[in-house]
Symmetry: C2
Subunit: 120 residues, 2 copies
């Protein structure tokens, strides 16, 4: 997507979540599994749209980061949707490797049984 | 899920998002389409887990709400997952009707083309 288009889309969204972000849901384009959820500020969304690679705003580290920068597991955008009130977006991606920092294919790997049987 | 189990799961999660919430991603159990994203505080999650119906905390209205309470379009939980850092959950649901307040099957219905061609 060119810069003009990315700027227009960024201007239409409502960055109303913490630290002026939107919620970004990441879904595997092929399997349709949910891979992760993150926050994007304007800059992260703009970079995501113009480069085709996922960028996020880290609420804990207070910095912009490119998904896959250290692991090499880049996530390439195939499809992009915006929700009804424009404060959440959906990216369908082609995954070049596990998205989760634990090495798991999806961040949503903890089941009801695992939680119930955990010790803490 | 009984109250004891729901209490345990609620206690394991990290309600670190705005107004002490977690992010809840809602996915159609059958089609695997993403339907919506919302926030849940402890009470909303507890009620969701114990009743089997989606409850959210509304950041704009500052109240707890049961999805489908006015529309009748209840969303029944079929599967539940927690993400790696325990601040987001995934509910796979059986949908008794359109989830979006616009009447759309999914809240993520706005495409790139629609946004680029919009007037504002």
């Amino acid at each position: 997507m060119n810069e003009e288009e990315a700027q227009k889309i960024t201007s239409l969204l409502n960055f109303r979540h913490e630290e002026n972000t939107i919620i970004a849901v990441i879904q595997d384009y092929k399997s349709k599994e949910i891979l992760m959820v993150g926050n994007m500020n304007k800059e992260a969304l703009f970079k995501t749209l113009t480069t085709g690679y996922l960028h996020f705003w880290s609420l804990s580290k207070k910095n912009l980061w490119l998904k896959g920068e250290t692991s090499g597991n880049f996530q390439i955008i195939e499809e992009f949707k915006v929700d009804c009130d424009a404060d959440a977006v959906l990216f369908k991606v082609r995954s070049l490797g596990p998205i989760c920092h634990t090495g798991s294919y999806t961040c949503f790997y903890r089941s009801y049984d695992e939680l119930i049987n955990s010790k803490s």
